[in-house]
């Protein structure tokens, strides 16, 4: 086995835990003293840094939830001085305002280091040509993996998203050996290749895929590996934690959660109590060394289980299982998180349509397709087809801007969509993973 940082990755569990406790204690003291947000939270929760005397005491600390970030938009939770900030990333919020994440130089360094370890654990290294086909820019996937792959000395092809034929051309012509993208997009690349008479297995040098940002299954992995003749690894992370950070190792049996960076709890959603290894619950994460946007006991909303046993690869850091679902109504469309509340918020800003809508999600070929059906406001009706088409385009464009994902729009007659008395069920998800 080749490790990026063998001392850290193979450190005995007891030592790791001692390190985690020290980091946690330092973090809690720092935030109690320097962060208004965490200070007030801890006081309101009746907990003082002196109460944290062993690692298990982490449960005494209050949770942090996604809406805390929105309510403190954009940077009220930040604990770094403005001149120490070197990066902002922005991801979708639950309604109008996005979630903003700031980074110091050390934050970027830890994030990159996490991915350097992860990519190495998947067998990627110097001499590999890595195509990063996640979105660059405000989304953390592109720049995150870009920096990670650059650190291990691979040749990085910053392909970003879209233009599948060109992606394929790059894979072929630039002799790409590893690709990072969403699992459904890789399948789409595979289908496009087939149509063009290209076999990923025989005609390309692709041997590794790092796939994430959306739920997928072991069946999908089997299919991808079989058809493309590659090894497919799962990657996990959200922008609140920094971005994508953790992958499976070559054992393909759970994500290694680097203990010096992340303290992971799996809790029972109803009781808030920790569940034993192997049992499912909501993942709660504390990022131990974040400077700009500290994260203590963040409720990720992801359902999974944890395994502390020693991995066959020799790494001592605990593993979490493939994600089993979400606790909320968040949808993941082509790797982008979408909340139905965002759609509602957006439609209410467009006078030509009403706030009644339905979302239908399908998988067309390998790709997610989201259709938003919306009612035309009677005052906006025109007998010119192009006017109606313009309204449809406007709705599509506005949603695209707000959600960062393109959607199909269908204009329905006023009054034709279902009305809900209780909790609205506006999403019909027909995808099979």
């Amino acid at each position: 086995m080749i490790a990026w940082d063998p001392n850290m990755e193979l450190m005995p569990e007891a030592e790791l835990k001692r390190m985690q406790f020290k980091l946690l204690k330092t973090l809690v003291y720092r935030l109690y003293s320097f962060s208004n947000f965490y200070h007030d939270r801890m006081v309101a929760h009746g907990v003082h840094p002196d109460d944290i005397n062993r690692l298990e005491d982490v449960v005494k600390l209050p949770y942090m939830v996604k809406s805390d970030l929105r309510d403190n938009y954009p940077d009220k939770i930040f604990t770094a001085e403005p001149e120490e900030l070197v990066r902002y990333h922005v991801s979708s919020g639950t309604t109008g305002k996005p979630t903003v994440v700031g980074y110091t130089k050390n934050d970027l360094d830890n994030w990159t280091e996490s991915l350097a370890r992860a990519l190495t654990s998947c067998g990627v290294g110097r001499g590999d040509v890595v195509q990063v086909a996640y979105g660059y820019g405000l989304f953390t996937g592109g720049l995150g993996l870009h920096y990670g792959a650059e650190r291990i000395g691979a040749s990085v092809v910053p392909a970003s998203v879209g233009n599948t034929e060109r992606q394929l051309e790059l894979i072929l012509d630039l002799r790409v050996t590893a690709i990072c993208c969403t699992p459904s997009y890789l399948m789409h690349i595979g289908e496009t290749a087939k149509k063009m008479g290209i076999s990923i297995k025989d005609d390309t040098r692709l041997k590794t895929a790092i796939l994430g940002a959306e739920p997928w299954s072991d069946q999908m992995r089997d299919r991808i590996e079989e058809e493309m003749g590659i090894k497919a690894y799962n990657i996990y992370g959200t922008s609140e934690l920094s971005g994508p950070m953790f992958t499976e190792c070559t054992e393909q049996d759970g994500f290694h959660m680097w203990s010096d960076l992340a303290l992971v709890e799996i809790i029972d959603r109803d009781t808030g109590q920790p569940v034993p290894d192997g049992e499912q619950g909501e993942m709660v994460v504390t990022i131990l060394q974040k400077e700009a946007l500290p994260i203590i006991r963040y409720r990720t909303g992801d359902i999974t289980s944890i395994d502390h046993s020693l991995c066959a690869c020799g790494r001592t850091h605990p593993r979490i299982a493939r994600l089993a679902g979400r606790v909320d109504d968040m949808l993941i469309i082509r790797g982008i998180n979408v909340f139905p509340s965002q759609v509602e918020h957006t439609l209410l800003s467009i006078p030509e349509v009403s706030g009644h809508f339905m979302i239908e999600v399908n998988r067309v070929g390998a790709l997610d397709n989201m259709l938003v059906k919306v009612e035309l406001n009677p005052e906006a009706f025109s007998d010119k087809i192009n006017d109606i088409l313009d309204i449809r385009r406007k709705v599509g464009h506005t949603l695209k801007n707000m959600l960062n994902v393109s959607v199909d729009v269908e204009i329905s007659e006023p009054g034709s969509l279902p009305r809900f008395e209780g909790k609205a069920k506006r999403v019909i998800d027909r995808r099979v993973l």
Partner: protein, 144 residues
């Protein structure tokens, strides 16, 4: 059942969305003494399609084609409607019950009756249903 006698040849002409195109088409047909019986324009992004029923479709096709227009034939049917309230409803109901989709349609009110021109997804089924339910279809001969 042979439905060919009820299949009518509509000419469809591509036209850029700019002044003078319709005049050019109509002028050409006039020069050939071709009579336009029914006609509509469908609009799209920057262009349109002129659809017409004419008394001499072959001659119209040749003339317009020779002038450089893109022309094609499309099979449509023409239904006689009673020119009274409910006339259109009768026809639409027949097609709806047989689950035949109307792709587009236009109409004219003639001397004896109103005529509805239909482009449907299943021509044969539409002809059978309309005749079976006592409707009257115009045959191709009646247009020449």
């Amino acid at each position: 059942m042979d439905t060919t006698q009820y299949t009518i040849k509509q000419i469809s002409v591509f036209s850029e969305n700019k002044p003078g195109r319709l005049a050019a088409i109509a002028g050409a047909l006039q020069a050939e003494k071709i009579n336009i019986l029914a006609f509509s324009i469908a609009e799209a992004n920057g262009f349109g399609v002129v659809r017409a029923l004419v008394d001499k479709p072959e001659a119209a096709y040749e003339k317009l084609n020779a002038m450089g227009f893109m022309v094609s034939f499309t099979d449509v049917i023409a239904v006689k409607m009673r020119d009274v309230p409910g006339g259109l409803f009768e026809m639409a109901s027949i097609l709806s019950e047989a689950e035949i989709n109307i792709e587009y349609s236009y109409a004219y009110s003639g001397r004896e009756a109103a005529v509805l021109i239909l482009r449907v997804d299943r021509v044969d089924a539409a002809v059978e249903q309309i005749l079976a339910r006592g409707g009257t279809l115009l045959s191709a001969d009646e247009f020449s």
